[in-house]
């Protein structure tokens, strides 16, 4: 079999993961995209291990290690996401702007400046 096929599949899958990480707003979906990227790397490792016929099977063993690290990462990531949800009632990564730099307050979709508008609406209604 041509070694290019799994390599191309891995490259495309990695790009899909990059798009997911950059474009999604829900933190759990970001985690899923990270998983996709890790799996692309795994596919590369297995394919090149089979191609190079490593006597120690470094590629496949490293794949197992990557799977373990990914499991640990998902566990910790979900714990952090649940903590954020408990504190903020949202896991929208666009709305978590507490650590932003001062002066770059370009808030396109953040729901922060709602209260004044709501008050104004109430005043108008009255």
């Amino acid at each position: 079999m041509h070694i290019v096929y799994p390599a191309i599949v891995a490259a495309v899958l990695f790009s899909v993961g990059v798009y997911g990480v950059l474009a999604r707003r829900n933190a759990i979906l970001v985690l899923m995209s990270v998983e996709l990227m890790l799996n692309a790397v795994n596919l590369n490792l297995v394919a090149f291990d089979v191609w190079l016929r490593d006597r120690l099977h470094g590629g496949q063993v490293l794949t197992l290690f990557t799977i373990v690290i990914a499991a640990a990462e998902v566990g910790l990531g979900l714990a952090i996401i649940l903590l954020v949800f408990r504190n903020r009632q949202t896991i929208d990564v666009d709305a978590l702007r507490t650590l932003r730099e001062e002066g770059t307050a370009a808030e396109p979709v953040a729901p922060q400046p709602q209260p004044p508008e709501a008050e104004a609406a109430e005043e108008v209604a009255q």
Binding site: P6, V9, F14, R24, R25, A70, A71, L82, V109
Partner: protein
Amino acid sequence: MLLGVVAVGAGVLVVTTRQLVHAALWLVVSFGALAGSYLVLTAEFVAWVQVLIYVGAVIVLLLFGIMLTRAPIGRSDVLDSGNRWAALAVAVATAGVLVTVVVRGFRDAYVPLKASGGTAGDMGASVFRGWVLPFEVLSVLLLAALIGAIVLSRTDIGAARADGDATRAGIDASRTGGDAAGTDIDAAGADIDAAGTDIGADGGERGADTKEGEA
């Protein structure tokens, strides 16, 4: 090749679908297709580990996360960020560069697919002969991640959370201080408990692995 197409297609659906639960289920399809690819590449042990850990554990964990964060079930249009076009450009650029490099680099590299040491026995032998130290380091890492997850997700411990509550809700500092002091002892006890059980579980898992390697 069909498996690769299925994996990529399901991956695209994961990052474009508008329903959160469907994204998780498409992720199952993608990981399953990848496991099939590993089987085709004669790495059967890795394939079964992929099925067990990813399809079995990670997806269930993600579904629990979706459930616990009260995610919107059903269609929702707020899952995509505002910068999706920039993200699409970056992703297409990444794909172009990677595919070009890979095709140019490995244009005439063929791999003869015959059964070559991807079985559980071979993997066990190589893990426990050549890669013992990384294996042990990885068990310690797993233990650390487990304790960290427990500490992060418990509500009654942790000064950081008390601080956050104090700044957000304006609780006076003396009360949170007292709370923290009261729960610290609890926390230490729970941590020791967690460490003990995890060492037990780890030992059991290692024993099972060794048996598998010998078999």
